[in-house]
């Protein structure tokens, strides 16, 4: 009697555990595809942002490395060539007509040609690029501190975000863009870079101009930057989540971790 009961119980337990784990797994997949569950999960993005901002001094610098630490190969991810005719023309003219416009909620909208940017005081930094996928690469970036440009255009008091409009489009023709909090634009290591490891940016790494924002993940480092627009809210722009990867894939806008 007893051994039989024990066996039945064991069978029952095994069956229950097996079934429960299958249901749980399928449940996780269903919840991932629902609209309500990811919106609960994403609540922690705000919490993470608040806590990280609270514990991080405004001007705390990302670690800067030595020349010996530079990666031999700096991988290029995402779009590695904008592929549009317009961009191809810029490449053909060696970006001589490339300019970056700073517009939106500013006193004086301004435009800088690449040559003009290169005449401004530059900053060089050897920093670590952390991809959301998990890898890291170290490179030496040279460019103009974004704060210097903003001081010239004078943001209006209601400007909260800087939106970076880029030259690349995806296979469906959707243009790439990114955004960051205006406060982060004034961080000393936030630069519009035009050189990597002492040579002008190549196409895979964002020629001729890309953002370096060293305190967040790689997908925030917009390449092929053409226009910077200061706005009060991100909701009216493209998918409204503040960036191409945020709209398209559900990556966090706050990419501090």
């Amino acid at each position: 009697m007893k051994p039989k009961r024990a066996m039945e119980r064991r069978q029952f337990l095994k069956g229950t555990l097996g079934a429960a784990s299958l249901v749980a797994l399928a449940g996780c997949d269903n919840m991932s595809q629902s609209s309500w569950f990811p919106s609960i999960l994403s609540k922690t993005e705000k919490l993470t942002e608040r806590v990280q901002r609270a514990v991080t001094p405004t001007n705390a610098l990302a670690k800067e490395y030595g020349e010996a630490d530079i990666s031999k190969v700096f991988p290029a991810n995402g779009n590695t060539d904008p592929g549009t005719e317009e961009y191809a023309e810029h490449v053909a003219k060696n970006y001589s007509e490339w300019s970056v416009d700073v517009v939106g909620l500013v006193q004086t909208p301004m435009s800088w040609s690449l040559a003009a940017l290169k005449e401004l005081p530059a900053r060089t930094q050897i920093t670590r690029h952390d991809c959301v996928e998990g890898w890291s690469a170290i490179g030496k970036w040279t460019g103009v501190p974004l704060g210097d440009l903003l001081h010239q255009v004078q943001p209006l008091p209601n400007a909260k975000f800087a939106v970076f409009h880029c030259a690349d489009v995806d296979e469906d023709g959707i243009p790439y863009y990114e955004s960051m909090a205006l406060a982060d634009c004034y961080h000393p290591q936030t630069i519009l870079a035009y050189e990597l490891n002492g040579t002008p940016l190549d196409i895979p790494h964002g020629a001729p101009l890309r953002l370096r924002f060293e305190r967040q993940l790689g997908y925030k480092q917009a390449k092929y930057v053409m226009m910077i627009e200061l706005v009060e809210t991100l909701s009216g722009i493209a998918g409204g989540k503040g960036g191409y990867w945020e709209d398209d894939q559900g990556y966090e806008w706050y990419a501090g971790i």
Binding site: K2, R5, A6, R9, L25, C28, D29, S32, Q33, P38, I40, L41, S42, K43, T44, E45, L47, T48, Q52, V55, T56, P57, A60, L61, A62, K63, Y65, D69, S71, K72, V73, P75, R128, D130, C131, V132, E133, G134, W135, S136, A137, I138, E214, R215, Q216, L217, W245, Q249, G250, Y251, E252, G256, I257
Partner: protein, 326 residues
């Protein structure tokens, strides 16, 4: 069995508060009615039934786990499973580990990748410190796809890094909050000093404990009322070494946290090293969970589960004074 367990459940919950404040390890010896005890309750059932009535075994009820500890324990079950499986999803986005700050792709410590053989067949190859292993079907290539960990081990099952991160970062917060709650309670209630910290006597008996574990001889009677030395060490290491390590190495992977606390990069040997330690700590958790569940099953599954659900644990004293002889 049913009547005994139900009695324990009811009294256990009714008396909880008063017990916690004064006598956390209160015990109530009960005479054992042989018929009412079923298998699974206590390991050695046949001996007990055969025992003569003059030395009838006595079952003592011990209030072993207090409510906050029980809640915290069971919350950890879904939290850890979800964190491990969503963590494997994140790992799959770049299935290689390195030391230092950079990930030099020609020098991984470990990589799990699909590879094509000369005949054009796909195999999953796991490379550890330069040694290659064919792990097709589980690691590197499974269900006709190249992926490091298989679909059944990741959340979500499909390759969706963004969603894996959302699960992971959400439950990471819950685990940290639960961990802080547990740590505060365990310190204030003296659970740490009284039940978890190994004593000098414990540590001197470590050789015997190892031998006993190898032959699966488990403590009985008085000895079963407290944690044995290996159990204490396992709990202390997982709670106060591996858990903080996994949180801190997780935070070291955050570029923002690295600017606020640059010493994290120094103590862990770089961001990629922190990622590697995070992975090792994860599999330390997996190893702990496997052994923990095995021990729960081997040392009286229903008694153990009941004690973590209701708090009440039954200890059988077979022959007073001779309970250790197997």
């Amino acid at each position: 069995m049913a009547s005994l367990i139900h009695e324990g459940t009811e009294t256990g919950q009714g008396r909880e508060n008063e017990q916690v404040s004064e006598l956390p390890m209160r015990s109530e010896p009960l005479p054992l009615e042989t018929q009412s005890v079923s298998d699974g309750l206590i390991g050695n059932q046949s001996d007990a039934s055969a025992a003569p009535s003059s030395s009838a075994p006595v079952v003592e009820r011990v209030y072993r786990h207090r409510l906050p500890i029980r809640i915290s324990h069971w919350l950890n079950v879904p939290f850890l499973i979800i964190l491990i499986m969503s963590g494997l999803q994140i790992f799959n986005a770049h299935p290689a580990l390195y030391w230092g700050d950079r990930s030099d792709r020609d020098q991984p410590l470990l990589s799990i990748r699909p590879m094509k053989t000369e005949s054009g067949e796909m195999r999953g190859i796991t490379t550890i410190l330069g040694h290659k292993f064919d792990t097709t079907g589980i690691l590197g290539y499974s269900d006709g796809r190249g992926r490091a960990f298989p679909a059944w081990a990741t959340i979500p099952s499909a390759k969706v890094l963004a969603m894996g991160r959302q699960w992971h970062l959400f439950f990471a917060w819950l685990l940290v909050i639960n961990g802080l709650f547990f740590t505060a309670y365990a310190l204030i209630s003296r659970h740490v000093t009284r039940d978890l910290a190994p004593t000098g006597k414990d540590l001197r008996g470590i050789g015997k404990a190892v031998k006993d574990h190898i032959v699966l001889r488990h403590p009985k009677g008085e000895e079963a009322k407290r944690y044995n030395v290996l159990q204490k060490l396992a709990y202390v290491v997982i709670l106060f070494v591996v858990a903080p390590l996994i949180v801190l190495t997780g935070l070291t992977m955050s570029p923002t946290i690295d600017t606020a606390f640059p010493w994290l990069l120094t103590i862990f040997g770089g961001r990629q090293a922190a990622r590697t330690i995070h992975f090792i700590a994860c599999f330390s958790f997996v190893g702990f969970i496997v052994i923990h569940v095995l021990q729960v099953i081997l040392t009286g599954f229903f008694n153990n589960i009941r004690s973590m659900v209701t708090g009440w644990f039954l200890v059988k004293h077979e022959h007073e004074g001779a309970s250790h002889e197997a």
